[in-house]
Amino acid sequence: MFKDIFRKTKYVTIKSGQMQNRTPSEVSMQGEVVGISKKELPDGLWVKCPKCGEVLFNKDIEENARVCTTCEHHFRISANARLALLVDENSFEEWDAELTTLDSLEFPGYEEKLIEAQEKSGMTEGILTGRARIEDIPFVVAINEASFMMGSMGSVVGEKIARAIERAIELRLPVVIFSTSGGARMQEGILSLYQMAKTSAALGKLAENRLLYISVLTDPTFGGVTASYASLGDIMISEPNALIGFTGPRVIKQTMRQELPKGAQTAEFNQEHGLIDLIVARTQMRSVLARLLRYHQEGAQYGATV
């Protein structure tokens, strides 16, 4: 009822040209023009879509897997929110939550950054691992947390992934990893870099054991994560419009003085260049994964005639 009164009213869609005529009170802290002063907006009630500019009722977005109800833009979501959307209720068993970071290089500002990341994300490190079920099919899952130092991979993230894969081999379960990451974590230097080798080698063992690995790339996935576990899926999936690449556009521009064409490094660009099998909307992810997992269940005999 309340929802119907407030959603999609005329004053919330503003063309950029109208910006100049607005008083400061009409522009929120994030530079979002909302038509009414910030004071009148209860925190978290509204959210503006960065793609289509539509101001949306937060609750509607939540109910739509945090996908814009107007343009289908996929907002970034936390690892826990993704888990809740994905797996059967009460089926998740978390692994290795007790692994925490060691500032072994005594890197400037790292401890402060870690505390800040923990407060921001509510997680101890940048990845969630464990086992769960989708439509009753058991599998091993790992989900990067973007708000934890941009999901970057240090010793803990690498170790948790490697352990999850090794346990998947013991339990003979398939693995699905959702990546969201800026790459290897600078603050752990060479140790972070070698997590790329560690996770890739673990996936080699998984493959040798003929177990399925599905890699789901979400916005954004770059650097050392793209150059290791995220690119080694038997099946490569991405969410629509997610940015995926090796080098970020800003660095390419700085070092090569090369401006990437519009649309470069999107999921669609990557699919066009043969790097991704499927682009799957978040609202469809559960059912698509269920289908793929079912194809690979041991003893599965689809269409068997004998």
Partner: protein
């Protein structure tokens, strides 16, 4: 004369002074040999002092020296009959990666190396030693061959990083590097990797996940270039010197962190001062490890390589109460 660094100037000044005294002595017919001998001793001491206490940033400068020996300088000194093989069979031949078959101490080996140029012209040809996906795919093709024919693999790392441009993105740079890492983890033959100059991030690691990692003593191997690190940390690329220290990426640091297995001595002041001497040291160290690894069974070689990678990294096993108390 070779490119001279700021920290080498005191040495150079003394050398010039000795030459002046010698000339004066010859011109005037005065015997100053004792003075010369004293100064020469001083030069030797100064060299020991300066080159023995290089800071991380000074090592970066040596590793990036324009006359730093590259793979093609070492190849004729390390190998007999290096036969270069080209192309990835998919797209192109990447000239920042050299690969082929050679004889090393009488053993047939497969060699893969990153190659920087020595001048602008060669650097353009070799993309400044920054491989594109086709370079990594060539490496995997040749390493797969080594596995097929049971040849040990020797890799040589020398790159500022993997190529970062539109073409690299279109052709799947991330996937190409990841395939290198995956492929290398599965081989049953010995894999020895040596950092001979600059080890730049994932682009270097692609050839670095072997049984043994050797590093020339003035080489470095980092998750990120010191300039980029400084730009992220302090928004100031001129603070690369501080970043170089913070990243703990020198050969000595990597030995301490358990990533490198052994360091290879370079000629005094850097490999460019005496290529033959450095190549000789390198040859001996690689040979030592190759003999050791060849005595292992194929399965053990693969398992030990996995174990080595598995143990890299440090973390707490139990949650730190202080850091996590408010998170439930």
């Amino acid at each position: 004369m070779a490119q001279l660094f700021e920290f080498e100037k005191p040495i150079a000044e003394l050398v010039v002074r000795i030459a002046e005294i010698q000339k004066f002595s010859a011109d005037k017919g005065i015997d100053l040999s004792q003075e010369v001998a004293t100064l020469e001793k001083k030069v030797a001491l100064l060299k020991k002092e300066i080159y023995g206490n290089l800071e991380p940033w000074q090592k970066v400068q040596i590793a990036r020296h324009s006359e730093r020996p590259n793979f093609y300088d070492y190849a004729p000194l390390l190998f007999e009959d290096f036969t270069e093989l080209k192309g990835d069979r998919l797209f192109a031949d990447d000239r920042s990666v050299a690969g082929g078959i050679a004889l090393f101490h009488g053993i047939v080996v497969t060699v893969i190396a990153q190659v920087k140029g020595k001048d602008t012209k060669e650097n353009i040809k070799r993309n400044f030693g920054m491989p594109h996906p086709e370079g990594y795919r060539k490496a995997v093709r040749l390493m797969d061959q080594a596995e097929k024919f049971g040849r040990p693999i020797l890799t040589f790392i020398d790159t500022p990083g993997a190529a970062c441009d539109l073409g690299a993105e279109e052709r799947g740079q991330g996937e190409a590097i990841a395939r290198c890492l995956l492929a290398m983890s599965g081989y049953h033959v010995p894999v020895i990797s040596t950092v001979i100059g600059e080890g730049g991030s994932g682009g270097a690691l692609a050839l670095g996940a072997g049984n043994v990692l050797l590093m020339l003593e003035n080489s470095f191997y980092s998750v990120i270039a010191p300039e980029s690190c400084a730009s992220i940390l302090w928004k100031d690329t001129t603070k690369a010197k501080e970043a170089a220290a913070a990243l703990k990426f020198t050969a000595q640091d990597l030995l301490r962190l358990g990533v490198a297995d052994e360091l290879v001595r370079e000629s005094q002041g850097g490999a460019h001062n005496n290529l033959n001497q450095t190549a000789d040291e390198l040859s001996q160290v690689i040979s030592k490890y190759l003999i050791r690894l060849r005595s292992e069974s194929p399965e053990v070689l693969r398992e030990k390589r996995y174990e080595k990678l598995r143990t890299i990294g440090f973390f707490h096993e139990t949650a730190d109460i202080n850091l996590t108390k408010d998170l439930t």
